[in-house]
């Protein structure tokens, strides 16, 4: 009988262990990039689908979700640097910090509306094509649901703090690439300070706008 009890106990413990790895899905430094994306995307989708406030377009709540569940796995400074191109070095450290913050807020504002639209969509994760020692990878996904499937790819870089997303491809368009001309045109017209001011004004404007749905 004693052996049975022990077998029972250890198998219960084993079950908890398995359940622990399955459900406590908080990525850490060692999480491989494709698993990281899968965890973050799955968690965000579950949260949005189970939260009526978010579905009604409650912007502060969406922003909060993005800040907590997505931003920690991104490197917005890197994103901003890449989008700025050669202009990055001409910016003071203070301007660099401002630009990273304002660009992050602009992206959160523009995509928060899209997040609140999530209903019965599912995400298909494509197998990762990368070598084990790669420092940079692309994780490919497709969002299926209403309308045409939307390819969504993430570009990640290995950092001491784990893999971080710094660029995203939406329907064939890399975010960084799309903003390169936007930034450089604004800078050639109004300087780096002008770009900072433009982004600040736009973010205030978007924050004041009513949610569309």
């Amino acid at each position: 009988m004693k052996t049975y009890k022990r077998i029972f106990q250890s198998s219960v413990a084993g079950l908890f262990l398995i359940a622990g790895t399955l459900f406590a899905q908080t990525p850490d430094q060692l999480t491989p990039p494709d698993a990281l994306i899968k965890m973050v995307v799955t968690e965000v989708m579950t949260t949005v689908k189970s939260d009526p406030d978010i579905q009604k377009g409650n912007i502060p709540k969406i922003v909060d979700l993005v800040e907590k569940k997505i931003v920690p796995y991104t490197d917005m400074r890197r994103t901003t640097e890449m989008a700025m191109g050669p202009n990055w070095k001409k910016a003071t450290p203070e301007q660099q910090a401002q630009l990273s913050l304002e660009f992050k807020n602009l992206l959160i504002r523009t995509y928060s509306g899209a997040l609140s639209q999530l209903r019965d969509q599912t995400v298909q994760f494509k197998p990762l094509r990368a070598a084990p020692d790669d420092k940079e990878v692309i994780v490919k996904t497709v969002v299926l649901g209403r309308g045409d499937p939307v390819p969504l790819d993430y570009r990640l870089e290995k950092t001491p703090n784990g893999w971080k997303v710094y660029d995203m491809n939406i329907m064939g368009v890399w975010l960084v690439e799309a903003y390169r001309n936007q930034f450089s045109n604004q800078i050639s017209q109004n300087g780096i300070e002008g770009l900072v001011k433009f982004l600040q004004d736009r973010n205030k404007q978007l924050a004041a706008a009513k949610p569309t749905n």
Binding site: G85, T110, L144, G172, V176, E177, R180, Q182, S184, N185
Partner: protein
């Protein structure tokens, strides 16, 4: 073949005439200080057509789509979307075959077979949840896969962002389109075309607003995105997919 080319030309010249008519309305100027893009030598002309399209969208198409969304319940709009999507799959199968992707072409044909029969004439998309992936191909992409260069960026009236290659592509798409051109009943044909336009605009109803918030200069944002997207679509399914990844020259600091 000759008559096809002749027809193509007729269609193209009509498009060009239309573009000039739009141009007469006024040539938009490039904002001061903006670097001219090497892909966009006709920017002043393109900007004016872009403005025309934006106006058309804001004052005609978008209100019509809003009414469409108000009047029809979602499941009917989805049925309409699925119907045209299924119809498009027939052409996509053909283009995939022409692009040397027989696997994708077979997948697309299976989609049509499943959705047309079990999906009630295409009103329900059973193929996607069944694991048959949806593709979308057109003549412009097919020409691109064959190695035809894109040429300068062009904004077409009504059709929006394009380039020289895709302008020919769009003309060929229209020319070979049964529902648009070859369906014998003119009344039905026109109604279907109207419904298709509304359906197409409806699929990016929210995305259109998103662009206004995201872009610093909407014209160049849409242009740069279009150029990238077409290249991505043409490279899609190729073995050396690494070529899709842009190289950002500034090193990490």
């Amino acid at each position: 073949m000759m008559s096809l080319i002749h027809n193509l030309w007729r269609k193209l010249s009509r498009l060009i005439m239309l573009s000039f008519a739009v141009l007469m309305v006024g040539c938009a100027s490039i904002p001061a200080g903006v670097e001219p893009s090497p892909h966009d030598p006709w920017e002043p002309f393109n900007r004016s057509v872009f403005e025309f399209n934006e106006g058309l969208d804001a004052y005609l198409l978008k209100p019509v789509v809003a009414a469409y969304r108000f009047v029809l319940p979602e499941f009917i709009r989805e049925g309409i979307y699925n119907f045209f999507s299924n119809y498009g799959d027939i052409y996509t199968a053909l283009y995939n075959l022409l692009q040397g992707k027989p696997g994708d072409a077979f997948n697309d044909l299976m989609r049509v077979a499943v959705n047309t029969t079990m999906g009630l004439g295409g009103l329900i998309d059973l193929a996607t949840p069944g694991g048959l992936e949806k593709h979308k191909e057109d003549w412009g992409q097919t020409l691109g896969v064959w190695g035809v260069p894109a040429g300068p960026y062009v904004v077409l009236p009504f059709f929006g962002p394009s380039n020289v290659r895709d302008t020919f592509g769009t003309a060929a798409d229209l020319e070979s389109d049964y529902l648009f051109r070859l369906l014998p009943n003119v009344g039905l044909r026109n109604s279907l075309t109207g419904l298709r336009v509304v359906n197409a605009r409806n699929t990016y109803y929210e995305a259109g607003d998103l662009l206004d918030g995201a872009a610093i200069d909407k014209y160049s944002f849409v242009r740069d995105a279009y150029i990238q997207r077409r290249q991505y679509q043409i490279n899609e399914g190729r073995e050396d997919e690494e070529s899709e990844i842009p190289v950002y020259e500034n090193p990490y600091q």
